[in-house]
């Protein structure tokens, strides 16, 4: 038993893709994507996407990193292994700033990369759009819109016709095992 997994349509230029995205958004679709070899300026608005929450993840992770850094140094030097060195106080916080900062940056960077992975649901090595041979050009010079059945407005025939109507070329219905 086969079922529709996605419908894709290709466009010639970044401008065409941008305008098509606006039309798809205005038509009421909410779960579609616009694929391009590079990010296109203005596409977030054209698709009606909300701002990415990644900044909060990075901020939270960075603060956590700083807390871990300062906490580790403070705990080691005052509780676990109190040792007077160069006549300095056990809790000589001025000397701990640099490692605190390093861990602030390190955790923040992990937050940026792995937070981005989580939000993008990657790694994900299989996806219906990969069944299309033409789709491979998306990383070269191809521009595509894909709509998946998860969208409330999705209807195999109407959606395909709609994509053709807004200028999509080679509209392709991708099927896979149910």
């Amino acid at each position: 038993m086969k079922e529709v997994k996605a419908i894709i349509a290709s466009f010639e230029t970044p401008g065409e893709l941008l305008h098509a995205a606006e039309k798809v958004r205005d038509e009421g679709y909410t779960r579609f994507d616009c694929h391009s070899p590079f990010p296109i300026h203005g596409m977030d608005d054209a698709m009606g996407l909300k701002r990415s929450p990644l900044g909060f993840i990075v901020g939270g992770m960075a603060v956590l990193g700083a807390a871990v850094g300062l906490g580790l140094q403070g705990w080691v030097t005052t509780v676990e292994y109190p040792l007077i060195l160069s006549g300095k106080a056990l809790w000589s916080w001025q000397a701990y700033i640099i490692i605190t900062f390093a861990l602030f940056v390190l955790f923040g960077a992990f937050g940026a990369v792995f937070g981005m992975f989580v939000l993008n649901r990657i790694p994900r090595w299989h996806h219906p759009v990969f069944y299309s041979d033409r789709f491979a050009s998306v990383t070269d010079d191809g521009f595509f819109i894909s709509i998946e059945p998860g969208d409330p407005k999705f209807d195999a025939e109407n959606t395909a016709a709609f994509l053709t109507a807004i200028g999509g070329k080679d509209v392709e219905t991708i099927e896979g095992d149910a």
Binding site: E12, F38, L54, A62, T77, I98, A102, V105, A112
Partner: protein, 482 residues
């Protein structure tokens, strides 16, 4: 797909376009596809014979490195020329040299990104790879300087059977964290930037191994805007985090010296002076590598003479900052009224290491001043020679700082002259071998130019490119300076 509509109009349109004005960033009417073909071609075709020649030299150098490190481990650190009072010799000089070189990569990838210097797209991948390789080379030296490198993990704060913890008040431990963080963040930044390009290689793969390897590494990237949205913000935030990091790393390296009480080291000018020197030396090395790779792979239209000129301007600025720091150091030693400080600096310029001091001054203060001339900034052979002088000069800077201060400390009875042994020299030469080996492997197997970013700065990447009023004031006037 749209080859035909890019070829002829580009020359006309680019002339008025905000991405390039009269002078587009990328030359010769490149299209999206031609960028893909050019960059992927490097990896997919057989390497030019020049690559094999260079790789032969480089991998021989790596063998020299392995051999000399093996001898060090077998015999002990006594094979190096260290003595008392010069307990820090070439190993620290080389460490600071290599870490400094790494800085240009992060400057290009992070700081120029935040400053919206779009010309960086042609060279950032190179520069980031150079950073990672340079930090690997740097790490070898302190790693082996500890003598028993297999217990180098004592530096990390891990609970152990001895119940001992590292000293968090020591700048040497700060360095471990700063350089470790720097390496990790640079690696993440480099890899994340490469994911869309790895997907391009995946989609073009002809063999099963390539499909598997690039498919695995590209994480299933589909170029959807829902992915680009988070990706771009993530990249921006990484750049924002890497910017203070790159300024801090060499500052922390400088505290290894500056927190001591030794005349010539105990100064507050060190952090900014080290950072400027690091960027200066890093750009020298990026320029050397870029000129070679550009020639070997014929990338003159992607890395244009304009890119090179901009790099030369940065060398001029940072080189002048370094020159200023040298003079200011001298002035302050006199102004401080501290006899030991005065002695140290007079000794640097006229003492038994004067030869090293004047090599440093000539290479670092005079060389960059040639870049005031536009003809010099735009001449490939001259800039290649000058970039080599910058590399030499910056190595000598670290030598002068480290060795002159140590060899003449407070007590004349403990003075001694330091000279490297054969094994010091071979280890350093070998580290160049490792550096070039890894860099050549990068050129051979990974996309050396950030394709998705270069495509993004082509004029036709602008969504308004195909509209009739493109290039007129209405379309341009959205705040993008031309």
């Amino acid at each position: 797909m749209n080859d035909q509509d890019n070829q002829s109009p580009i020359a006309v349109v680019a002339a008025e376009h905000p991405h390039g004005g009269d002078n587009p960033l990328i030359k010769e009417g490149h299209t999206f596809r031609s960028v893909t073909e050019k960059v992927c071609g490097i990896i997919e075709k057989k390497p030019p014979s020049m690559w094999w020649v260079l790789f032969g030299f480089a991998s021989s150098g790596t063998l020299i490195l392995l051999g000399s490190l093996g001898w060090l481990v077998w015999e002990g650190t006594g094979v190096w020329g260290l003595n008392n009072p010069v307990g820090w010799g070439w190993a620290i000089v080389n460490f600071v040299f290599w870490v400094g070189i790494g800085h240009a990569g992060t400057l290009i990838s992070a700081i120029l990104f935040l400053l919206r210097q779009r010309w960086r797209t042609s060279i950032n991948r190179f520069a980031e790879a150079m950073t990672i390789v340079a930090v690997i080379c740097a790490g070898i030296f302190p790693g082996f300087h500890v003598g028993r490198f297999w217990v180098a993990y004592y530096l990390a704060p891990v609970p152990n059977q001895m119940g001992v913890w590292p000293n968090f008040r020591s700048p040497l431990l700060w360095d471990v964290f700063a350089v470790g963080t720097y390496f990790t963040v640079s690696l993440l930044f480099w890899y994340v930037g490469m994911v869309p390009d790895l997907a391009t290689l995946r989609d073009r793969a002809k063999t099963k191994i390539r499909r598997l390897v690039f498919g695995f590494l590209s994480l299933g990237w589909r170029g959807g805007n829902r992915q680009w949205q988070h990706y771009e913000l993530g990249y921006l935030l990484l750049a924002g985090l890497a910017t203070p990091l790159v300024l801090s790393v060499h500052s922390v390296v400088s505290t290894d010296f500056a927190t001591s009480l030794l005349p010539g080291w105990h100064t507050t000018i060190f952090p900014p002076y080290f950072v400027a020197g690091a960027i200066f030396s890093g750009f020298g090395m990026v320029l050397t590598l870029t000129l070679i790779a550009r020639k070997v792979y014929g990338l003159e239209n992607i890395i244009t003479i304009d890119h090179l000129e901009k790099m030369n301007k940065i060398i001029l600025v940072t080189g002048s900052m370094v020159g200023y720091a040298y003079i200011m150091e001298f002035f302050i030693s006199w102004y401080s009224g501290n006899l030991y400080e005065v002695f140290t600096f007079v000794n640097r310029a006229f003492g038994n290491y004067a030869w090293a001091y004047w090599i440093m001054m000539a290479c670092n203060v005079i060389t960059p001043q040639f870049f005031w001339f536009k003809k010099v900034r735009r001449s490939v052979p001259i800039m290649f020679v000058l970039s080599i002088f910058v590399n030499i000069g910056m190595w000598f800077e670290r030598f002068v700082i480290t060795v002159t201060s140590l060899s003449r400390d407070f007590l004349p009875s403990s003075w001694d002259y330091y000279a490297p042994t054969l094994w010091d020299v071979l280890t350093f030469v070998g580290s160049f071998g490792l550096f070039f080996t890894l860099f050549l492997l990068f050129l051979r197997f990974l996309p050396a130019i950030a394709m998705s970013e270069v495509k993004g700065v082509l004029p036709q990447a602008d969504p308004h490119y195909h509209e009739e009023d493109f290039g007129s004031e209405k379309a341009v006037g959205e705040g993008v300076p031309s």
